[in-house]
Symmetry: C2
Subunit: 364 residues, 2 copies
Amino acid sequence: MKRRQFVGGLAAAATLSACAQDAADCGGDGAISRQTFEWSCVTSWPPKFPGLGMAPENLAARVEAASAGRLKIKIYGGGELVPPFEVFDAVSRGTVEMGHGASYYHKGKVDAAQFFTAIPFGMTNLELNAWLYYGGGMALWHELYAPFNLVPFPTGNTGVQMGGWFNKEINSVNDLKGLKMRIPGLGGEVLRRAGGTPVTLPGSEIFTALQTGAIDATEWVGPYNDASFGLHKAARYYYYPGWQEPGPGLETIINRDAWNSLPADLQEIVSTTCQAITTDMAAEYTNGNAVSLQQLKKDPNIELRRFPPEVLGLLRTIAQDVVDELMASDPAAAKIGEAYFEYLDIVSENSRIAERAYLNTRES
Amino acid sequence: MKRRQFVGGLAAAATLSACAQDAADCGGDGAISRQTFEWSCVTSWPPKFPGLGMAPENLAARVEAASAGRLKIKIYGGGELVPPFEVFDAVSRGTVEMGHGASYYHKGKVDAAQFFTAIPFGMTNLELNAWLYYGGGMALWHELYAPFNLVPFPTGNTGVQMGGWFNKEINSVNDLKGLKMRIPGLGGEVLRRAGGTPVTLPGSEIFTALQTGAIDATEWVGPYNDASFGLHKAARYYYYPGWQEPGPGLETIINRDAWNSLPADLQEIVSTTCQAITTDMAAEYTNGNAVSLQQLKKDPNIELRRFPPEVLGLLRTIAQDVVDELMASDPAAAKIGEAYFEYLDIVSENSRIAERAYLNTRES
């Protein structure tokens, strides 16, 4: 894999000498670099989209404040500078210094990256963070992205998603047959094998497709984001739980040359702020979902429904096959997948007697 | 409420003039203060205790790195500088600049603070953070601590705790009668009304009390911390779920004069690092609990048990009475408690179809 020249990094390096001279003249404590950086961050989201799009905005504002303006990051919505799904390439080749998106968008380029976002019937938000920060996950992620000249930072998590909006009732596995549903990634492949027709559509086209009957169903995120797209005005049945993405983690990716050009204090500010955004985004989603759900429940045109157990059971069986094939297709996916499922075995035993047992008691 | 003199703040203010002069001489960008601070942080934890005690250590190390050494924080274990439960007073009167502990330790001084840690059958980690950061909780917390010259920052969460270690089986509500159990706070009061005898013991004395039969049972935290105390060597039955503390949030408190003496960039570094520690501690606990639980399950002398539903039902009914009385006793507790339960009503509806429905599906 070739190492690409990083334009921003070279420009920044030139600035460095001038600033270093400045500091030496002052005879100050010398520990604080006055070097300034202006970065661009491309994202996969509509600008300032609730949750997903606010995370990079919040990240940039906080980094600028914490660095006293030494690191300014300009955020671009998907398509403003590069298309939403070309964030990885743009940051990898150094067109921009930073990106915010989801690692499973890199399917086809680096298939194994999907384990760091979400796996059907896999880890929740809390479990994924435990694996990444304390269970060895981050080391695998760094290793996977190193050939692309990228440094990854977990930055946000939407929490458990919803099953989606349907204009057909799902009463048995037969109702999946012929179902045209907007559902990307591994979840879409699972639906296909269950007899459905998965469709990939960007967020902006979902509402119309659902309203016109071009699709029978769609998953998106959860009440907070779904309501902001107006999906409840285009479908009757709102199904839960989301089995396809049980706690997707988002990522910040930084071009390695840009990262290496930062002094140690700014590196610490960036990595700590990314971790803070993970708490912040989960709080924004939990609150937003709760408030939006309350409103949706008042709408007589909407029925909140649970998928029948036999449907979830079938999807789960197929999901295991799909993930097994992913792991068999690629040595990196095999290595990371084995680590992921070994950890899931252990961590899910704890979730069973902690979160699950508690919520069942409280909600009984 | 009188405003106490803050010694550290005055010393810091003197340093400020010298540094400001320095910066002016240099003709630099002027935005970066070179002023340095050396703070002391007292805690309620044994030094470097897994999870709880590591949070302030990690906080201090990161703040020092992110500030390029301009803000150094020395961490003291409980009892090293002030006793574990005198953190609030020491920071309030400015003996030290910072403290890390739990707001429910301030019972008796500021009863309403208990809502910001944990309430029996109340909010989980994700729900509490949603309330604090996006549901109005932080504004109430700031208001509550203002008369004490303190600024609060949520900093860490242990997640759902365990019900505890028992040397008597709990098969019915009758088994609670006469039960001598180490369980502090609101949970202890609930047990008392259910016929038990709650005992308050510092962590360091729990093992011996349980082993000698001075107590029949104890709650502590969860597998990670419980195993490090060796509680599994002193009791046979490990009960779940923890009903008394379903996701206790920890706090950093900062003396307001010390806080005001920080330049804006260091304030941002501190507040963002506190929020990052919330992700980090949850990850440490989720991982530590999972690994420790796996080990405990291999021990033939331990039985993992679920509390009978009728026991949980009784405890829940009593808990509501106990919290109602707390709210009736104090206007601040009434105001904060009303906001807490109004939010719990909304947020728990979402948890029911998100985390709960998903975990039930995955673990079925």
